[in-house]
């Protein structure tokens, strides 16, 4: 079971390796559960927090803006009220009849006005043409009837046109904001009352506005110019704020009595919430701004609160989650441990879980499974043991078989070694005391190899092979062609004498025979035997079958090997023969070209030779004529005798010239004949001179070739041989060939014998046979065997060393005599004594042969 665990661990490693790319951290079940719980709780809390914070933020913003708006509104109202108040105060002096009252009265009214309206610093009356009639100031002495002309100034023109005119704000003494208010009088051709109003009061109103800690208000006019601001320096610098988004928005929508601004940046650069309210009469706008941080302070505190709640929720969820998970995971863990122990082979282990849920069921299943595994494991062990025994047995047999095969392959061609190995191994492996291989030899089976038999048995069996028809197990197996087992040989009554004797000497009781089959035929029997009655199992018989097959293979190998060897030898021989034949062909080719050369030379010599001969005989005639003339001439005796003597010597010399010329001519003729040139037609010719000529030619040829050659020539020529119609040069060729063969054979015998008394003899005979002529050529040479004689006329067959003979001579001779002349060429020989060739030529052979060929 250990290997199972290993496998599992290994599998896990593989799994981890294969997931390596995604590298997922391993996490316990408890961890996962706790994480899920915490995740869920925190998700809910976070969503809740975000929603409530969003709502709180919006609300806080709205509240802040509302407060600011209110402040702005009230500031706007107060400024408005202030201006309206001043305007109505001025109204005192603007009645229609006011211009007609007396100057003192007017002055009085102005003083009263100044008294009642402390904000007015200076007041003046412009008459209907814009000339200043009266001017009262808190700072300067009164001016009455100054007649200063203001007709072209705005304060006059605009007031006349619009009834009321408010000037832009301006500053006196560097810091006090002022505004001119001009009011036209009622009635026709009105004058105008102009009041210079100190706006410090407006300032005070604006500066007094405080929102939260840092929030404040400021006022801009229609053009975005700062009119009032807690920081006076900004106002004095006449800052234009129209570029600020909140100011721009308020300017574009001045009609909205109290618009709520979105967050924007303040002059200081902080995020601010701004509310605005317009002062309708003056076209001014009051803006109240509060830093956003301040406005949203409540929101932040609520955020902190929510976060705290979230943290608390997470903590609680984590605690509760891990508690729950632990509770669930502990039994699973126990289950896992139990399974691991089961896996590691501890089958007695049982898992105890009392949770009352599915996990407990699972544990129970595990336990029952473990019980079953334990049971099957126990039976498996028994089976494994049994199988191991079988396998060991098989292994032992395989090893032995392999050993046998090794021996066989090592000694492929030593059948005895192979057989002995086979019988020894078979008897060992099959638990048989005796084993034998019998091979069929003729009609009986003889022992080829045996093991465990006594020498007496072996000796007897060798002397008495088992005949095919015997009743022995061997013979039965052979005839059945399949394994035959005899449980008890003694129990068989049908045994013949020989078999009984075998049994007696061998002492076996149970035996089994396996046939050695080659292509369905029994070539032997493999027999196993035991001295006690104990049958062989099927398995043992199967095993012997293998051994029997090996024996057949070994036999077959040897047979094939021998076949191959024989074939190789044959091929080698053919190759050698071919090589020799090739050499001969080359030689023949050389001879042929030599023949052509010879013919050419012979022709060239022949013509001059003719002249030599002709002139020699002519000169002889002339010498004879000269002698006649000398005889008739009257010369002195001595002179005559001297001349005659010279002529006689000259004639003798000319005879010699003619004689040697004829000799040379004869040689040339023979050369031409031999080269198969010259006259190639058949004609009747005397056979004896032809034979003699051939003999001479051959003899001189041989002498020329080997100077120390000698042979005794004997001739027995029939004078009645007469003429035969033949191709003379062809027959000469045959004769030359046969004669030189005879010279060769006799010379060879002489050199073999190394006997100085031995005389080589060549005999030529001719005989008249009536319609044909017989020529015999006999030598006392080495002779030829019957075997050689069979092949002697085959082309390229020769007994001479390569290069010496063409192997064509006798073949061509045979063709010439038999085919060309219709004759016969026979040979008879006694090796070491003689060889005789017999030629029989019909007298009119060529005609017959030509006729035969035509027909």
């Amino acid at each position: 079971m250990a290997h199972v665990t290993e496998l599992a661990v290994h599998g896990e490693e593989v799994a981890q390796r294969s997931y390596g790319v995604f590298r997922r951290p391993r996490m316990s079940l408890a961890m996962k559960l706790a994480l899920a719980l915490v995740g869920l709780v925190s998700l809910v809390l976070v969503i809740n927090g975000i929603v409530s914070m969003w709502l709180g933020y919006n609300e806080a913003k709205a509240v802040a803006l509302r407060v600011q708006n209110e402040k702005a509104q009230s500031a706007a109202e107060r400024v408005n009220g202030f201006v309206s108040d001043i305007e109505s105060q001025i109204g005192w002096t603007t009645r229609a009849e006011w211009s007609r009252v007396g100057l003192e009265q007017q002055r009085y009214d102005f003083i009263r006005l100044l008294r009642q309206a402390p904000a007015i610093t200076e007041i003046s009356y412009l008459d209907r043409i814009g000339k200043e009639q009266l001017k009262l100031s808190r700072l300067e002495p009164d001016a009455i009837g100054s007649q200063k002309d203001f007709a072209e100034e705005e304060k006059f023109k605009r007031a006349v046109a619009d009834k009321v005119w408010f000037s832009p704000v301006y500053f006196r003494r560097g810091s006090e904001p002022y505004m001119t208010i001009a009011v036209a009088h009622a009635g026709r051709n009105p004058g105008v009352t102009v009041a210079e109003v100190n706006l410090k009061l407006v300032w005070d109103v604006i500066s007094a506005i405080r929102v939260g800690e840092k929030g404040y208000a400021f006022v801009v006019d229609r053009g975005g110019h700062l009119i009032a601001h807690p920081d006076l320096s900004l106002v004095l610098r006449d800052v234009n704020l129209s570029h600020m988004p909140q100011v721009a928005q308020a300017l574009t929508h001045p009609s909205e009595p109290a618009s709520i601004q979105q967050a924007a940046k303040s002059l200081e650069g902080a995020e601010v919430l701004t509310a605005s309210a317009p002062i309708a009469r003056l076209g001014w706008i009051v803006l109240v701004q509060v830093p956003e941080t301040e406005a949203l302070a409540p929101v932040r505190s609520s955020l902190i609160q929510t976060s705290a709640l979230l943290a608390l929720g997470l903590f609680l969820a984590a605690v509760v989650g891990s508690l729950l998970a632990r509770r669930m995971v502990v039994p699973i863990k126990r289950l896992q441990l139990g399974a691991e122990r089961l896996g590691s082979g501890d089958l007695s282990q049982r898992i105890t879980i009392r949770t009352g849920d599915e996990i407990e069921d699972l544990a129970k299943r595990f336990n029952s499974m473990a019980t079953r595994v334990q049971e099957s494991y126990e039976t498996l062990e028994a089976k494994v043991e049994e199988r191991t025994t079988d396998l060991n047995e098989a292994l032992r047999q395989q090893t032995a078989t392999a050993e046998v095969l090794k021996v066989i392959s090592r000694s492929t061609f030593h059948l005895q070694t192979v057989f002995e190995t086979l019988v020894a191994s078979a008897s060992k492996l099959c638990d048989a005391e005796m084993c034998v291989i019998l091979l069929r030899e003729g009609a009986a089976y003889a022992i080829a190899a045996s093991h465990g038999f006594s020498p007496q048995f072996q000796e007897y069996a060798r002397a008495h092979p088992l005949p095919v028809g015997a009743t022995s197990t061997t013979a039965r197996t052979a005839s059945a062609g399949k394994p035959v087992q005899v449980i008890d040989v003694l129990a068989d009554d049908s045994l013949d004498e020989l078999t009984r004797e075998y049994q007696r000497l061998g002492g076996y009781r149970t035996n089994v025979g396996i046939p050695l089959l080659r292509e369905g035929e029994t070539i032997g029997v493999f027999v196993l035997a035991r001295p006690t009655v104990r049958p062989f199992t099927d398995r043992q018989i199967d095993l012997v079958q293998t051994f029997a097959d090996q024996a057949v293979i070994a036999l077959e190998n040897v047979r094939l090997f021998e076949k191959v060897e024989a074939r190789t030898r044959e091929l080698g021989q053919s190759l050698e023969e071919l090589r020799v034949a090739q050499d001969r062909l080359v030689h023949t080719e050389k001879l042929a070209s030599l023949g052509q050369l010879t013919a050419g030379i012979a022709h060239e010599i022949k013509n001059p030779l003719n002249f030599v001969n002709n002139f020699a005989s002519l000169s002889k005639e002339l010498a004879a004529e000269l002698k006649e003339l000398i005889d008739r001439a009257s010369l002195s005796e001595t002179l005559h005798s001297e001349v005659v003597e010279i002529i006689t010597t000259l004639t003798g010399n000319l005879d010699k010239v003619a004689q040697h010329g004829k000799r040379a001519d004869s040689i040339v003729k023979n050369m031409l004949l031999h080269s198969r040139e010259g006259t190639g037609d058949h004609r009747p010719i005397s056979i004896n001179p032809l034979v003699e000529e051939s003999l001479n030619l051959a003899y001189h040829g041989a002498r020329a070739e080997r100077p120390n050659f000698n042979v005794s020539l004997e001739k027995d020529l029939d004078p009645t041989a007469g003429e035969v119609d033949i191709y003379p040069q062809e027959v000469t060729r045959v004769l030359l060939n046969l004669i030189s063969n005879g010279f060769y054979a006799s010379a060879k015998r002489k050199s073999q014998l190394n006997d100085p008394d031995f005389v080589p003899v060549l005999t030529m005979k001719t005989r008249n046979l009536g319609s044909s002529v017989e020529i015999r050529i006999r030598d006392n040479g080495i002779g030829i065997t019957d075997e050689v004689r069979e092949k002697i006329f085959n082309p390229f067959f020769t007994t001479k060393p390569a290069g010496e003979g063409t192997g064509l001579g006798l073949s061509i001779s045979h063709d010439i005599i038999v085919k060309q002349h219709g004759g016969r060429l026979d040979v008879s020989s006694v090796p070491g004594s003689y060889t005789e060739f017999v030629i029989i030529l019909p007298r009119s052979g060529p005609q017959l042969a030509a006729k035969g060929a035509n027909e």
Binding site: H603, K606, N607, N610, F611, N613, N614, F615, L618, L622, D665, G678, T679, G680, D681
Partner: protein, 134 residues
């Protein structure tokens, strides 16, 4: 009017040989012998008008340029009345057959058998004289 035997052979010594062999006949004025050393020369000789009667033409076969066998039909054409005898060192059947087929009156192999030739000439001479006297 003398009779003429023309011998055609490229060997110069043939002239001497023939003249010496037939010295008696020539001395007796039985016939005249002339020699041509090539086939064209022979043709020129027989084409020319002559005061001699050509009774026989002996020609070698093996000659450089035009051979005797080539000469034979031309002579037969110009002088069908003159017998032509071929002389050659190649006495093979084929050459002999070709020569006879082309109209040769005889065929002699070298070395020339002068006895035979003398007989032939005598015979030809007598038959000519017979026909002339008739």
């Amino acid at each position: 009017m003398s009779v003429l035997v023309l011998v055609v052979d490229d060997e110069l010594d043939v002239g001497d040989l023939f003249r010496q062999q037939f010295r008696r006949e020539l001395r007796a004025g039985l016939f005249v012998m002339e020699f041509a050393y090539s086939a064209p020369e022979a043709l020129a000789r027989i084409t020319l008008p002559s005061d001699v009667n050509l009774i026989l033409l002996l020609s070698d076969i093996n000659m450089p340029g035009m051979t005797g066998l080539e000469l034979l039909p031309k002579v037969r054409e110009i002088r069908p009345d003159v017998p032509v005898v071929m002389i050659t060192a190649y006495g093979d059947a084929d050459t002999r057959a070709r020569a006879l087929q082309a109209g040769a009156a005889g065929f002699l192999t070298k070395p020339i058998d002068f006895k035979l030739l003398r007989e032939g000439i005598t015979e030809r001479l007598s038959s000519f004289q017979n026909s002339a006297s008739d």
